[in-house]
Symmetry: C2
Subunit: 220 residues, 2 copies
DNA sequence: AAATAATATTAGATAAATCTAAAAAATATG
DNA sequence: CATATTTTTTAGATTTATCTAATATTATTT
């Protein structure tokens, strides 16, 4: 089964929106995610339904099939492996990789991905802390929670970001937050949900609830 | 100026056919080269003419413009850098790289190519001995001649292959001919143009004129 | 429950890239 | 040089992916 580049992008968006724990994925959500119009989405959903990567009943909603899941995970695997390559080998900053990976993920060559994976030493996570599915599409998920949900005095380690936009990542660079940093919650402000944390037992950091909710932590 | 993937492929084909020293590039030649129909070529030539990467007068022929040359060389640069990456870093065989490079060459990211070039240590030649244009599109050409045109007792070094097909490259692997090999012409058969050479002062090799004409040598 | 709003789909266009078949132009041949 | 052959272009379809505008369906509010 072969998907076009556009089909792969739609399927990936559907997969991601499905994972967000929403009851169902709407046409408008998909349109927003891939920056297109709802009319285009409707048309594509029909096609993806015909290819049996989703189950689609118009006006009712859709569900990704096992086949669709498999294919989406392959594309995500490629995307994340390329991101690791760009950061680890070509010294891209973690806020510079997304657009390029968005292109590279569509290169068709099983051998290439197999070799790239080996070359990168079978990484388990991408530069944003997201898990890399293996060749069979299996993803190992770690228990993680948003930083703003932690309590005072709790400790943990930053393991991922929810928002991978360049603006957000550059902000984290600026204040000195990074994947792998050990943190402790020093204070939380009831009023606005903002939070004060200690990074690597050295540096104090204040951040808004909005920022904290996009930082994912492995509690310890 | 932005070209589509198809336009880049056509322009690259036109560039290569122009370089082959022919008086002019025909619609049929292009169709053969990129495995499409003459009707499709005519249509694309009109478009490339409008974009001013070629000068095109129907029925009369075409000429690549300075702009077209520049863009073609950028694509060729990308293609060859990726080939080096695949062979040097991912341990692809030299007969496995072409199709993948044919896809990778269309990835749009100046930063990526700049970094890839640095990562590969600014290689001057690809795995088939073809020169890699620099970022400005400059190509350093070496004087080289086809092996079948050499005289008895002449010595030299294999520097490139004219035919990069997997079949030909695997044949060379099998008989032990490779880029960089030092050779000496031991004998030439007048009748069929076949040739006998000594490789690395060790191994004797017989080959047909057809094979020899696809091996390029730097004479010394 | 009827009216209104929101959401989703269809209808009809457009652009890119391809094809087959027909027509036109250039080239080769007797 | 007139005719035949080859080469090239055009005409008309098809597929994919997109859009706007109109319509249909579902959800929300009085
Ligand atoms: Mn993509
Ligand atoms: Mn990522
Ligand atoms: Mn290509
Ligand atoms: Mn090459």
């Amino acid at each position: 089964m072969e998907l076009t580049t556009a089909e792969e992008n739609y399927l990936k968006a559907i997969y991601h929106l499905s994972e967000e724990g929403k009851k169902s994925v709407s046409t408008n959500d998909i349109a927003t995610q891939i920056q297109t119009k709802p009319a285009s989405v409707s048309d594509m959903l029909r096609k993806l339904g015909e290819k049996e990567v989703i189950q689609y009943r118009k006006y009712y909603g859709l569900q990704i099939t096992a086949l669709g899941m498999q294919l989406a995970l392959q594309t995500i695997r490629k995307h994340r492996l390329w991101e690791v390559f760009l950061v680890d080998k070509l010294h891209f900053a973690w806020d510079e990789v997304h657009e390029v990976a968005e292109q590279l993920e569509h290169i068709q060559s099983p051998l290439l991905i197999e070799r790239l994976d080996a070359y990168l030493n079978y990484p388990k996570f991408d530069p944003h802390g997201d898990p890399i599915p293996d060749a069979y599409g299996d993803v190992r998920t770690r228990p993680r929670c948003a930083l703003n949900e932690m309590d005072i005095d709790q400790i943990g380690q930053i393991v991922a970001v929810k928002d991978s936009s360049a603006a957000f990542l550059r902000y984290l660079d600026k204040v000195g937050a990074y994947i792998g940093a050990r943190i402790k919650v020093l204070d939380k402000v009831e009023f606005d949900g903002s939070i004060e944390i200690l990074v690597d037992q050295k540096k104090t950091l204040f951040m808004s609830k909005d920022v904290a909710s996009n930082i994912l932590v492995l509690q310890s």
